[in-house]
């Protein structure tokens, strides 16, 4: 039993890496624009399917990865610049924007479903050999996944803290109106955020499919709640928080599985979010008094 629990830590880290990539992208977007973008799941699916198409055309694996990332980035940027901006200009409130993203999510998911003829497709990606370290067993691909997540985190941290763009981004997230009057090129920054977060969404979709080896039109929307939970738990806009929350959720789901409740794994994860909300809601949405505005 103890051994299982320890092994679950290893598995938890791998799962956490997967969640973290998605959560970082989501929180970056959410923190700046204040749009709780439910169509993020649809973008994840689109990224995964782009990689599938690359595979069908027998393109090398690296190209498939590029397809996924590019699709995610472009799609998100397009949605942000056209649809979301349209409704934001018309004075949509926080919840109205959620409804807009929900509608887009429906269109994405069922559009892909229709195009994919509602089939489940097989996705082959080299898994690499299994390595055994003491109690832990990982494949090379899983290690790569963790490495990618770490690299993404490092990259974003550097962007936010060391570059001018990052500083401008943080300023915008904090005080959008003030940032505008300060001469910060808010439009450009929003563009950058859409692209980066979209790229991460595409990457997440791809990573998910690499992990599960099958793909259908609902992968993104199925995985989104976990990503959402991690982003909310980690506080909107905070990539560090997102990573920590992803770790927590990954570990909890795997530990619960290890202790015999595989069916309850994700329920347990969401349960944590529910508990935090019940006991310390202010910790998650501290600025209830301030009126956050949509910045797209």
């Amino acid at each position: 039993m103890g051994e299982l629990a320890v092994q679950a830590i290893g598995f938890g880290i791998v799962t956490a890496a997967l969640i973290a990539i998605g959560a970082m992208g989501f929180t970056l977007q959410f923190g700046l624009t204040n749009v709780l973008n439910i169509s993020y799941g649809g973008v994840m699916t689109a990224g995964a399917f782009a990689a599938l198409i690359a595979e069908e055309w027998h393109l090398p694996v690296a190209i498939a990865v590029v397809f996924a990332i590019a699709t995610g980035a472009l799609l998100t940027w397009l949605l942000g610049r056209t649809l979301f901006a349209f409704y934001a200009r018309r004075g949509a409130g926080l919840f109205e924007m959620v409804m807009v993203t929900l509608a887009v999510s429906l269109i994405l998911q069922y559009g892909i479903d229709a195009a994919a003829r509602e089939q489940i497709y097989r996705f082959s990606f080299p898994q690499g050999t299994s390595l055994h370290w003491g109690w832990f067993t990982v494949t090379v691909t899983q290690l790569a996944l963790v490495a990618v997540a770490a690299a993404v985190f490092a990259g974003i941290e550097m962007l936010l803290r060391r570059t001018r763009l990052g500083k401008a981004l943080r300023a915008m997230a904090d005080q959008p109106r003030l940032a505008r009057t300060c001469g910060i090129p808010t439009g450009k920054i929003v563009n950058v955020v859409w692209l980066i977060s979209g790229a991460l969404a595409g990457l997440t979709g791809l990573a998910y499919v690499i992990n599960s080896l099958t793909i259908d039109a609902s992968v993104g929307t199925e995985f989104l709640p976990l990503v959402l939970a991690a982003a909310i738990l980690g506080r909107a806009g905070s990539t560090r928080g997102a990573v920590l929350a992803a770790l927590l959720l990954g570990l909890v789901t795997e530990e619960v599985s290890a202790l015999g409740g595989a069916a309850y794994a994700t329920v347990a994860g969401f349960g944590i979010l529910a508990i935090v909300l019940a006991t310390r809601p202010a910790a998650l949405a501290g600025q209830a008094a301030a009126k956050p505005e949509i910045t797209v």
């Binding site: 709780l36 926080l94 807009v100 999510s105 429906l106 559009g111 509602e118 709640p225 959402l228 329920v267």
Partner: protein
């Protein structure tokens, strides 16, 4: 075909119930309940387990809790209860004060958790296989009917239930409770300052909605004879949302129309189309279309096809029995530009035509119109009448018109009152609140004294009403208010000035209850209110306004004031279901008084969102007055207000304090402070620099230092 139509009818009425539930929770309560279908499921499961009998013997292939064989209509009652209980549990942690988008996401996640639990705890309600074999109600009694016939009877039964729920919901919507709920939806903080308990009201709406959804579940499961997680995927919630958004948020007929359009027409018509592409293509495309429909709706007609109905106070008043309260002050303001003599003459004559007008209006009104309708409700009909009746040439009513000279005003009402009372008696004897009754501002309305000269001596005792003792307020690590003490007596106006960041608004927040006090105490007329939430303080007489105007944008001006007048007492759910006409009548009378005083009668039916900034300020102030506060905290009331209105509001402040209200006003416009305040408190960096009369404070070096430091 009959089958198809009867099934469709059953589904329609059940979906309408769901739409009412969502309308209650979301349209009026403002809670974006993405977990709606869960409540239907709770009701369905509850009804199923109490009508299935124990899970042994014939039911041994499924396992579930409880298991009784209760006859109709008990399972439905259990379904209602289940929906309500689930709403209490879910509401307890998801109705916190958080952003609506968070709330939506959280409710979505909650529904996923519940689905996960139900599917995996197989012993609960048989997991993903669900329950089957639920007996149809009264199948023994109605065994004479054919299958077809039974379906139609069931459809009629569902129609009856839907109609009954409609009656309840419509009544609640029109009631004070419904109005209070919508006020909370529009601006929670402002609602708290008028004594409404936002959390309580929202929970009530949530539970009511949950109960209605549970009822719909009970009806559905008894019709389908089976229930499983497949029947309550979260896509179902979206279909209901589509119906509500398309049909009209906040309007019961609207959501019913939306249900018809979406659930019946939109989702059924494609099934009649010839098969295109592979099986299931049309189905997938349907959802794409729903998404497109949403986007179109949100872009073109976000309030839906039949939006929330605007409450027309004037029309409501015209239907009511005629009034006693004098029309003249209103007509007087209209004739502000004309000299007083003709005005007085006019006042003598004008009552009669409007009187006949309302007299003719009265018989038109249904004979059953409650006699307790407010007297003054009819009054606005009179000003409207002059345009048709041979009224004296009156200048068009200008909301900004200044009151005519005081003497005439004092006389006019008195004169016409006597006149009016006589003939009046023949129409309605009872229950007019006499204008001279000791409502706190009854004195004001009949007594429009010059702003500077005190009117009738206030009957409130002199003494300290607001006692602030060494209050500290901290936000995170920053100390916004340091050790501030302050005493304000009845009738005093204290100005709170200082540079930005001095802590003025923070102090006001602590006094009003919006921020927590880290140290110190706040006493209101002897009561220690330090730990009380804003709505409790409001009920004790401590009212505050906000920097950004806080009108209820989704309510008309009349309703903005009415909801303040009814607040804690009349807005109780119990009372609203019972009727509560009398309190409403009294409050409505006060509303008309205020509207007349502030020359806002023409905009009585405008939504808060349709007013100018200055008008909104006035509405805010009137709203405060409706509660007869002891202490009024005004947070930068002049921000964004046009200059002539600034003067106007200053005069109103003076008048209000003259009647015994203690006022604390935070202001940057120093001429206002000078004009209005008896005393100023200068703050800087969280502490009090000095406290003195305006002139003295201004000439002291301390203030200059404070501003420049």
């Amino acid at each position: 075909m009959s089958f198809y139509l009867s099934t469709l009818a059953v589904y329609f009425f059940i979906d309408v119930l769901l739409a009412y539930a969502l309308n209650m929770q979301f349209g009026w309560g403002g809670v974006p309940n993405f977990a709606l279908i869960m409540f239907q499921a709770a009701g369905a499961y509850a009804a199923a387990v109490v009508s299935l009998g124990p899970d042994t013997g014939i039911n041994s292939f499924q396992s579930y809790v409880f298991g009784a064989s209760w006859p109709f209509p008990l399972p439905l009652l259990v379904a209602v209860a289940a929906g309500g209980v689930l709403a209490v549990v879910v509401g307890a942690f998801s109705l916190r004060r958080i952003r609506r988008d968070y709330q939506a996401a959280i409710l979505l996640i909650v529904s996923l958790v519940v689905t996960g639990l139900v599917v995996n705890m197989v012993g609960l309600v048989n997991g993903s296989n669900g329950l089957t074999g639920v007996p149809r109600p009264l199948s023994g009694v109605l065994s004479g009917l054919t299958y077809d016939g039974y379906q139609w009877v069931y459809a009629a039964w569902c129609a009856v239930v839907a109609a009954g729920v409609y009656l309840v919901v419509a009544r609640l919507g029109r009631s004070a409770w419904g109005r209070a709920l919508r006020a909370v939806r529009d601006h929670e903080d402002a609602a708290a300052t008028i004594g409404l308990n936002p959390a309580g009201l929202r929970m009530q709406a949530f539970v009511l909605g949950g109960m209605i959804a549970g009822l719909s579940g009970g009806l559905l499961v008894e019709f389908l004879a089976a229930w499983s997680p497949a029947a309550w995927g979260y896509a179902e919630t979206f279909a209901v949302f589509t119906a509500v958004i398309l049909g009209g948020v906040g309007n019961n007929w609207g959501v019913a129309l939306g249900t018809l359009l979406v659930q019946v027409i939109f989702l059924q018509v494609p099934t009649f189309l010839p098969q295109v592409g592979y099986t299931g293509l049309i189905d997938a495309l349907q959802w794409v279309l729903i998404g497109v429909l949403w986007l179109a709706c949100l872009a073109i007609r976000p309030r839906g096809l039949i939006p929330e109905r605007r409450y027309r106070a004037a029309t409501a008043a015209a239907r009511a029995a005629p009034a006693t309260t004098p029309t003249p002050p209103r007509t007087q303001s209209a004739t502000a530009s004309t000299p007083s003599a003709p005005t007085t003459a006019a006042t003598a004559t004008t009552p009669t035509p409007p009187r006949t007008q309302s007299a003719s209006a009265a018989p038109a009104a249904p004979a059953t119109a409650p006699t307790s309708q407010a007297a003054s409700n009819a009054t606005p009909a009179a000003p409207a009448a002059p345009t048709a009746a041979p009224a004296p040439p009156a200048a068009p009513a200008a909301p900004h018109a200044h009151p005519a000279s005081p003497d005439d005003e004092v006389k006019g009402p008195q004169a016409s009152q006597d006149e009016v009372k006589g003939p009046q008696a023949s129409h309605d004897e009872v229950r007019w609140p006499q204008p001279s009754t000791a409502r706190r501002f009854g004195a004001v309305s009949s007594d429009r004294a010059n702003p500077r000269t005190p009117a009738a001596p206030p009957d409130t005792p002199h003494g300290v009403v607001l006692d602030v003792r060494r209050v500290c307020v901290r936000f995170g690590g920053v100390e916004a208010v340091r050790d501030v003490s302050l005493q304000v007596s009845a009738g005093e106006v204290v100005g709170l000035i200082g540079p930005n960041g001095a802590g003025k608004s923070s102090l006001l927040g602590a006094l009003g209850g919006q921020s927590a006090v880290a140290a110190g105490r706040v006493l209101l007329a002897g009561h220690d209110v330090t730990a009380l939430p804003p709505h409790r303080r409001a009920r004790l007489g401590l009212v505050r306004t906000f920097q950004h105007t806080s009108t209820f944008d989704g309510l008309t001006v009349f309703e903005n004031l009415l909801v303040a007048g009814l607040s804690a007492r009349g807005a109780r759910l119990r009372d609203s279901l019972a009727g509560g006409q009398r309190q409403r009548a009294e409050a409505a009378a006060a509303v008309w008084d205020h509207l007349r005083e502030f020359d806002m009668v023409p905009v009585a039916d405008s939504y808060g969102a349709e007013l100018s900034g200055g008008q909104r300020r006035l509405v805010e102030i009137m709203r405060c007055l409706m509660q007869s506060p002891r202490v009024l905290l005004l947070d930068e009331p002049m921000v964004g207000v046009a200059p002539h209105l600034v003067r106007r509001i200053s005069e109103d402040c003076a008048r209000i304090s003259a009647s015994g209200v203690a006022i604390v006003i935070v202001e940057h416009a120093l001429e206002v402070v000078e004009a209005v305040c008896d005393r100023v408190v200068v703050m800087a960096s969280g502490g009090v620099v000095t406290e003195a009369g305006y002139a003295e404070a201004m000439s002291s070096g301390a203030v200059r230092e404070a501003y420049l430091a």
